[in-house]
């Protein structure tokens, strides 16, 4: 028993010095956030959505997020349209194809460099502090280890999107 204890305590110190971000861990957070985005798509209404659209497009400049969301949302549909997961670079022409744009912590900088943050008919979701003030509509945050979100229905409306009250009730509504 003593030997086990010595090994356990020994490895604790080593490990405390070298805590790394496990790949699975990041994947889990992104997987859950992809799930939330899927629900935002299901419960949101894009007022100017073209009837001719052949897919629902989820965009992010972060390729590690897109690869997770691609596997999580595989085979899922929004209003009978298949979901397309697209890694985009943040230019106005590129973003026109998106229904939802997710800006991760790692890609915030390129978002901040974008001049015109008003994108008609695109739901803009982020996960960093003050993201709604920086032009977003919805912001993920963590509370007690679980994902929660802030949402600005007014800003969504300006972009031509209405969110169902079912989702608004679960989030923290901010109006500014």
């Amino acid at each position: 028993m003593l030997t086990i204890k010595r090994i356990l305590f020994g490895s604790l110190i080593t490990l405390l010095l070298s805590i790394s971000q496990g790949a699975i861990a990041v994947e889990k957070e992104y997987a859950l956030k992809a799930g939330f985005l899927f629900n935002f798509a299901r419960y949101g209404e894009w007022n100017n959505h073209a009837n001719t659209a052949s897919s629902f497009t989820l965009c992010s400049p972060d390729n590690s997020f897109i690869s997770v969301s691609r596997s999580i949302l595989k085979g899922r549909k929004v209003n009978n349209l298949p979901i397309e997961n697209v890694e985009v670079s943040l230019t106005e022409t590129n973003l026109a194809q998106c229904n939802i744009l997710f800006i991760t912590t790692d890609t915030l900088e390129s978002w901040q460099q974008l001049n015109n943050k008003y994108l008609a008919d695109v739901m803009i979701v982020g996960e960093t502090d003050n993201f709604i003030e920086q032009g977003g509509h919805i912001r993920f945050f963590l509370s007690g280890g679980k994902i929660r979100f802030e949402v600005s229905p007014d800003k969504l409306k300006l972009s031509g999107i209405t969110m169902s009250s079912k989702v608004l009730r679960l989030g923290r509504v901010v109006n500014n």
Binding site: I4, L8, L15, S18, A25, S71, G145, I147
Partner: protein
């Protein structure tokens, strides 16, 4: 118990179901379930990460089961858990345990609200009757049967019940309900929750209950009325994604009627009384959580508990302060949990007519550390877990509780787990410190000679139940094994166990024959009156001694089935045996050799959008409680007749009629009553 290799092979063979998907791809994308999931891959403090992969016998009571079943208290909710012995003494008091005989004052069960322990070291028990947790704001209740609770705390020999309440961000808005029925005058709840700026949220709640007495008593008319008022508050703060905190508190004031026994005069016999118990229970806790990285987190929790109780012959005060720190992290294939804990208990127990405190303890301290490592031997297939908890307490000094476990996933939807663990139960202060006057013994029962003189032979000698500081901690070694299978529409959860316990406290009779010699001398001299007078100075001692062995074994199986979204059914069976190994001249203090069997069925049907029926049927077959076997049906119909309003009718203890659930009166001074069938109506509003 030997885990037979044949049994292992059998488990290996049962694997025709092939689900070769990655676990994250199976993610339930329903918004409610996403909101319930932890982002951390490391387990949060005192919560399980995945019930499916936990290497202990765990059952999770969901918030849906709690609200749809129409239960009105936590102990009532626990009646729905297969493998828990939940026995109602009267309309207020309960005896609850798992893997053993439930007793009101010795349950060996660790009960927590959000990680705050409610264990009373005086009795090794929990005052269920004054435990107020608003049921509509419970996230879930995790129940671990057996000693699986290393990470959860001490004194969890028979199990852990962890009540996890909702984050206040999820309880914003107004909630109100009012119930009334055949046993209940009124039970009403009110809660309001909201945001605090952009970084926090809160809720405040209140609860008032006014309950009637039962219809039928054993010796006396029932007196078990309830008058209870509670108020509480919870704040949650999330300044950023790395830090979050919560503070919560509750105060409950109760006046509960009861019938009880006590020896209060020179008859030396138990006399029955009707009285009431006034209790004030207050608790407050604060927790700070820090997310170091997605695979590492740490938590600091501090809490304070104050309980004061006053009844005719007992005045007690109990305070407890807890400080816990825990860090969990994952490094490559190794998950590591490490924690520190400190507990200070202040206990004051006024001397009374029939209780005397001899040991001079007015406070108890406990401190310790735990470490657990889980190593992933074969990726996604095989995990090996070792852990140890070492702590020090004032009564028995240093104690250590090691464990080793193996979790094997032959397929993604199947888990086989094995566990060997040692656990320690520190004696309660009652066993260590106190002397009780109990129902007297007749001379003819204890004396080797009878005199033929009725005044002498039928005289009741004053009898004491004595705790003493030679009582040792009970040490249990438990071998457990389980198997889980989860298919698209059904799931199976099976566990078996064998536990050997040493140093079990039992009662040794010390008749102290020498003290009777003068009495016999007087008798021989024909001085009968003087002899009777001399008898009044004699006493018999029932002394607690730690020299018995106890073997408990059995198992639980739960099969759940969900063929469609709006229908869930569950069948469970539980079998437990309890056997003492006693030396001569001793008898058990808690429970006696017995076998308990339970059969459960539950059904939850949602229909016509607004309607829900939840039914649970329990067959209790046990010789451990000096009662008849009984079968009870609880059924609740919920009708959400408006988006914000719902109406419910709850029928409880149907079929069972007026029945007795607990008859071990030697273990408690409370006299139980017959438990009635009841019908309750409830209106709920949510805005």
């Amino acid at each position: 118990m030997k885990l037979s290799p044949a049994l292992l092979y059998l488990f290996m063979l049962i694997s025709p179901w092939v689900v070769a998907e990655e676990s994250l791809s199976d993610l339930d994308l329903d918004l409610d379930s996403l909101m319930a999931m932890d982002v951390q891959v490391t387990s949060a403090m005192k919560r399980t990460q995945s019930a499916f992969e936990t290497a202990s016998s765990i059952y999770v009571l969901t918030k849906e089961q709690i609200t749809r079943s129409g239960v009105t208290s936590v102990p009532e909710a626990l009646k729905m858990v297969p493998g828990l012995a939940v026995r109602q003494l009267d309309n207020n008091q309960w005896a609850i345990s798992s893997r053993g005989v439930a007793s009101r004052f010795s349950s060996k069960l660790l009960v927590m609200i959000d990680g705050q322990s409610l264990y009373t070291p005086e009795f090794a028990a929990v005052y269920w009757e004054t435990l107020n947790v608003p049921l509509y704001d419970i996230e879930r209740i995790e129940i671990i049967r057996g000693q699986g609770g290393l990470l959860w705390g001490s004194n969890a020999t028979n199990g852990v019940i962890n009540i996890i309440t909702k984050n206040s961000i999820d309880t914003r808005g107004l909630y109100a309900d009012v119930s009334s029925g055949s046993q209940l005058n009124v039970d009403t709840n009110l809660r309001y929750g909201g945001d605090i700026g952009n970084n926090g949220s809160f809720r405040v709640y209140g609860h008032v209950k006014d309950g009637q007495t039962s219809d039928k008593g054993i010796k006396m008319a029932p007196a078990d009325f309830t008058e209870q008022q509670s108020a509480g508050v919870r704040f949650d703060f999330t300044p950023n994604d790395q830090w979050s905190g919560l503070i919560q508190g509750d105060i409950t004031q109760s006046t509960l009627g009861q019938n009880f026994n006590g020896v209060v005069d020179s008859s030396n016999r138990n006399i029955s009384f009707t009285g009431s118990l006034d209790r004030t229970d207050a608790r407050i806790m604060a927790r700070l959580e820090n997310r170091i990285s997605p695979s590492a987190n740490q938590m600091l929790q501090t809490s304070w508990l104050k309980q004061s109780g006053e009844q005719t012959y007992i005045q007690e005060e109990f305070e407890s302060f807890d400080l816990d720190y825990q860090i969990n992290f994952l490094y490559q294939d190794l998950q590591f949990d490490w924690g520190l804990n400190y507990r200070y208990n202040a206990i004051s127990f006024a001397q009374s007519t029939f209780i005397q405190s001899g040991g001079g303890f007015d406070n108890l301290q406990q401190y310790g550390t735990l470490a657990q490592a889980q190593y992933n031997v074969i990726a996604d297939k095989l995990d090996f877990i070792v852990g140890v908890k070492v702590d020090h307490n004032d009564l028995t000094g240093w104690e250590s509780q090691p464990l080793a476990r193996l979790v094997w996933k032959p397929q993604n939807n199947q888990v086989v787990w094995l566990s060997v663990s040692k656990s320690v139960l520190v004696p309660s202060l009652l066993m260590f410190n106190d002397n009780y006057i109990i129902d007297g013994q007749r001379v003819e029962e204890v004396s080797p000679i009878t005199t033929g003189i009725p005044e002498i032979d039928r005289y009741y000698i004053r009898t004491y139940l004595n705790g003493n500081n030679k009582v040792k901690s009970e040490k249990s070694v438990s071998y457990e094994m389980g198997y889980r299978l989860s298919d698209t529409t059904w799931a199976l959860d099976l566990s078996v166990y064998h536990t050997d316990t040493d140093n079990v406290a039992v009662i040794e009779i010390d008749p102290n024959i020498d003290q009777f010699i003068p009495v016999f001398t007087m008798l021989q001299a024909g001085q009968i009156d003087a002899a009777v007078q001399a008898l009044t100075t004699t006493s018999i001692n029932f002394n607690l001694v730690s020299n018995a062995g106890l073997t408990t074994e059995g198992g639980d199986v739960v099969l759940s089935w969900q063929p469609v979204d709006n229908f869930t059914a569950e069948v469970g069976y539980s079998y437990n045996t309890f056997n003492y190994d006693l030396v001569d001249n001793t008898f058990p203090a808690i429970g006696y050799d017995s076998t308990s069997r339970q059969l459960f069925t539950k059904a939850d049907i949602h229909f016509f959008e607004q309607h829900n029926i939840f039914a649970s049927l329990r067959v209790e077959n046990s010789d451990a409680y000096r009662t008849d076997n009984y079968t009870a049906l609880d059924i609740t119909w919920n009708w959400a007749f408006q988006p914000n309003w719902a109406f419910a009718i709850m029928g409880k203890n149907l079929f069972a009629g007026t029945h007795l659930e607990y008859g071990n009166h030697g273990e408690t001074y409370t006299q139980s009553t017959f438990i009635d069938e009841s019908v309750t109506f409830k209106i709920t509003a949510k805005f």
